[in-house]
Each structure stands twice: as structure tokens, then as C-alpha cells.
């Protein structure tokens, strides 16, 4: 059976990981390559690197980082952040990235999804969507949930799918950082409405939350950052817990 995927997400700035990490056996917790290698050894199924580098000049650092990751890591990885045109994606693909993730660039210019899918194939294009519940409607937000758009989330996701998104990374900004569990209700609505894989994000606080999201929504993958980085959840323990609950995982 196709396994449910567990995906740690690493925030990277100027080639260094940003959020604190307390793995005891890391030489350098700020080195994304070492951290990524560690996750791949733990049994992570895939990795997402979110580049929050502000300046265009420092983007070249990212390409070097992607190459370094591709040299060392034997699982797929995705790069998100700052991809605005085909050339950005092309550089990352050539450096060894398996997929790219676009968020605000797709909202501003939806045709970018079509262009990327046509140039590289749908399997290369993840559309990341940050959603927030606003007066009984789910609204797409930008800039980490701070800026509301005029797009209703489900219709935007369906549009992204029809334009050539190969996967949807859906982050509930209402749940993100709460550690109270994923937004299972809305994730199920979205997962039932599309025919491409959905990655759940936002709200993971304990292992039961991962059991719940897979059991209640049937999404394809679950992503989290701090619970993994701070060692609150170890991936081998999480995989065992999922397996005990009869959820298909790669061990």
C-alpha cells in the first residue's frame, strides 16, 4: 500500500536553519544539510525547506544549499520560498530539488502554476496554501497568515489543481503554532474535493494528532516543524504509533 508520508519542514535563512533545534547528536544545529541527513536517517519520508531569505543576492546561497542537500540525502525534498518565475524553479531543479513549492507567487500570478507544470511536469509543482477561517469562510492568506486575500480557499485549491498543481500543501493558520491538532474538518473537505495529494500542515503537537489527521481526513502526508526540531516527537516513535493504529507507513 501507498504509505502516508511524514515530512519535517526546515526554515532556512541565508543558508542556515532558523528555528532552534535540540538534537543532542548534531555538530551544528544551524546546518540544514546535517539536519536533513539526520531526519533522513530517522525515517522521514520527505523534507521541505522553506527559504525565508529576504534579499535576492542571497538566493544563490540557496542553490548551493540545494546541491549540498542533493549530494547527501537519499529521500525526496522540496524547496519553497521566493520562486517567482520559471528560471528560479529551473535553477533549483538543476541543483537536485525534487519539487518546488509556490505560495504567494501563485496567488499573485496563477498562470505561474500552468507555466511551471508545462515546463517541468505536474509532479514538480506543489502549491502551498495558507488558510484562515474568517466569518464562516476559509480565506487564503499571505505573509504567514497576516494578509487576507479575496480568494476562498477551496475554490483556489481547485483552481490550482486544474492549472497543474501536483500536490497541495495546506496550512491552517488558525491551528499553526497551537499544538492542538490539525484542522481535520477542513482538511477532509479539501482532500475529498481534489484528486491530487494533500499535505496537512499546522497544529501538530503530539503523535495522536498525526493518527487523527490520517484517520479522519485520509490526507497523503503530514508536515510539521517544531515538534520534530525540538525532539518532542521522534520520527521512529511516530511511525510505530501510526503502524499500531493500522496506518500504512514506511519503517
Amino acid at each position: 500500500m501507498l504509505a502516508k508520508r511524514i515530512i519535517p519542514c526546515l526554515d532556512v535563512k541565508d543558508g542556515r536553519t532558523v528555528k532552534g533545534v535540540n538534537f543532542v547528536d548534531l555538530r551544528d544545529a544551524g546546518d540544514p544539510v546535517e539536519l536533513a541527513w539526520n531526519y533522513s536517517q530517522q525515517g522521514a519520508d520527505e523534507l521541505v525547506f522553506l527559504d525565508i531569505t529576504a534579499t535576492h543576492e542571497k538566493r544563490k546561497t540557496l542553490v548551493e544549499l540545494v546541491k549540498a542537500v542533493a549530494r547527501q540525502i537519499n529521500i525526496p525534498f522540496t524547496i519553497g520560498g521566493g520562486i517567482n518565475e520559471i528560471a528560479d524553479a529551473d535553477a533549483l531543479l538543476n541543483a537536485g530539488a525534487d519539487k518546488i513549492s509556490i505560495n504567494s507567487a501563485a496567488v499573485r500570478n496563477p498562470a505561474l502554476i500552468d507555466e511551471l507544470a508545462k515546463a517541468f511536469g505536474v509532479q514538480f509543482v506543489i502549491v502551498a496554501v495558507d488558510t484562515r477561517h474568517v466569518s464562516n469562510t476559509n480565506i487564503v492568506h499571505l505573509n504567514g497568515g497576516r494578509i487576507a486575500t479575496d480568494k476562498e480557499t477551496l475554490s483556489w485549491i481547485k483552481e490550482a489543481e486544474s492549472r497543474g498543481a501536483g500536490e497541495i500543501l495546506l496550512t491552517s493558520m488558525d491551528h499553526d503554532g497551537t499544538k492542538a491538532g490539525f484542522d481535520n474538518h477542513f482538511l477532509k473537505v479539501v482532500n475529498d474535493a481534489v484528486h491530487i495529494p494533500v499535505i496537512a500542515s499546522g497544529g501538530a503537537g503530539n503523535m495522536q494528532h498525526f493518527v487523527d489527521v490520517f484517520e479522519q481526513t485520509n490526507v497523503d502526508a503530514a508536515l510539521a516543524a517544531s515538534v520534530f526540531h525540538y525532539g518532542e516527537i521522534l520520527i521512529p516513535d511516530l511511525k510505530n504509533k501510526l503502524k499500531e493504529n493500522h496506518i500504512e507507513v514506511r519503517i
Binding site: L2, K67, Q72, Q123
Partner: protein
């Protein structure tokens, strides 16, 4: 922690240090191979690039990589003029993903006639609520025959897949199978020709084992 410091070899030839397997990678403009060459670097398997017919002699086995559109990939391969040589290869040859599909007779993707090393067809997965397309992620691979390619790999091990087209199952040629809405060929084998639909270079430790096994065939 054993991260190796390595110079950026890009896609240049890696020099064999101790005369171990030397793999020729067929270059025909279909897709990026950085992940593949990185995996071979990690395994200390030497490799080089094949652009012309004369290049084949330098290597003792071959990989045909490939991502993207099978019909378009076949067009590119035909433009290299290497097709007759590839069909006549006697040394171990491994097609990966679309590179494997090219070895079949036909693909629905682009309604294309292919190398016909294997008489099987490459077909599109039917989209359904239960089975999303592309088939994306880690799925189990079941060995249908005994073969050194899978030495040290447990039956049912997970490998990483990203594909919308599959090679139909056949008793004669299917070396390993995967179930995704139907049972299809995860791997095919005929004489010196091998194919894998999954990406061994992205499939963790077992993927690396498979590449190492191929280098020892």
C-alpha cells in the same frame, strides 16, 4: 554522522579509484540527473556520460535515466542516433522511471512507439477518488522472481514513486510488482535489460542497495 565533504562534480565523469563498476549514463536531454550521480558518488560507484555511440565502449554497464513525457523523451533519444546501439546492448542496462518506460513497445503518453526491447505497453493510471494520479510517494515493491538486482532488499520494501503512467504486469517480464489500483510492473527484466519505475536514487537505503546491486551485476 558521516557527511562527506565533496567537491562539486556536477555531471562530469567521476574517476574510478579502484576499478569498481563503471556505469555509462545515456544522455539525451531528458531530465536532470544530479540526484542519480549524487547517489552513485555516495556509493563510490564510478560513472561517466554517454553522448555518442563510441562512448558505450568505455563502460561495463549502462543507465538510461528519464523524467517527464515519454513521447517527448523518445523523440529526443531518436535524435541522438543511439537507438540501434541501445537495442543491441549486451551489457547490464538499467532504465529508471521514464528511462524504463522507453524500453517498452509503446506508451499512451504521446501515443508513442518506443524501443520495443520489452513487448509490454506503458499505460495511464485511471484517475479515481481512491487512487490519486500521479502516484506519488512510497509504495511497496514485491519481488516476483529471484534476481541479484534485489539482493538484500526485503520483499515488500517501500520505494519512492512519482508517475502517472505504468508498465502493465506480465508474467514473462515483470521482475517486481507494486499495487496501485492494479498490479503493475515496479521492475522489469529480460536478459541484460532491467527497468525500475521507482526512483532508487530517492528511495532511502534500499534504493541505494539496488543501485549498488546493479553495479555488481
Amino acid at each position: 554522522m558521516e557527511i562527506k565533504e565533496k567537491q562539486d562534480t556536477e555531471i562530469a565523469s567521476s574517476t574510478p579509484a579502484n576499478g569498481n563498476a563503471n556505469i555509462g549514463i545515456v544522455r539525451y536531454g531528458a531530465g536532470n540527473i544530479f540526484s542519480l550521480t549524487s547517489a552513485l558518488d555516495r556509493l563510490d560507484v564510478s560513472y561517466g556520460m554517454i553522448h555518442t555511440e563510441a562512448d558505450f565502449e568505455q563502460y561495463d554497464r549502462y543507465i538510461i535515466p528519464g523524467v517527464g513525457h515519454a513521447g517527448a523523451a523518445m523523440n529526443k533519444l531518436e535524435q541522438t542516433g543511439l537507438v540501434p546501439t541501445i537495442k543491441a546492448l549486451q551489457k547490464p542496462t538499467l532504465g529508471i522511471c521514464v528511462g524504463m518506460q522507453l524500453m517498452t513497445a509503446y506508451s499512451q503518453e504521446g501515443d508513442a512507439d518506443l524501443l520495443n526491447i520489452f513487448p509490454n505497453k506503458t499505460l495511464k493510471f485511471k484517475d479515481s477518488d481512491a487512487y490519486k494520479v500521479p502516484h506519488t510517494g512510497w509504495n511497496q515493491v514485491y519481488q516476483e522472481k529471484e534476481n541479484l538486482l534485489f539482493t538484500g532488499i526485503p520483499n515488500g520494501a517501500h520505494f519512492y514513486y512519482v508517475h502517472s503512467y505504468y508498465i502493465e504486469y506480465s508474467d514473462a517480464y515483470t521482475l517486481a510488482s507494486t499495487d496501485y489500483s492494479l498490479k503493475y510492473s515496479a521492475s522489469i527484466w529480460y536478459n541484460n535489460f532491467y527497468g525500475v519505475q521507482f526512483h532508487p536514487e530517492k528511495s532511502g537505503a534500499y534504493g541505494e542497495t539496488l543501485l549498488k546491486n546493479f553495479s555488481n551485476l
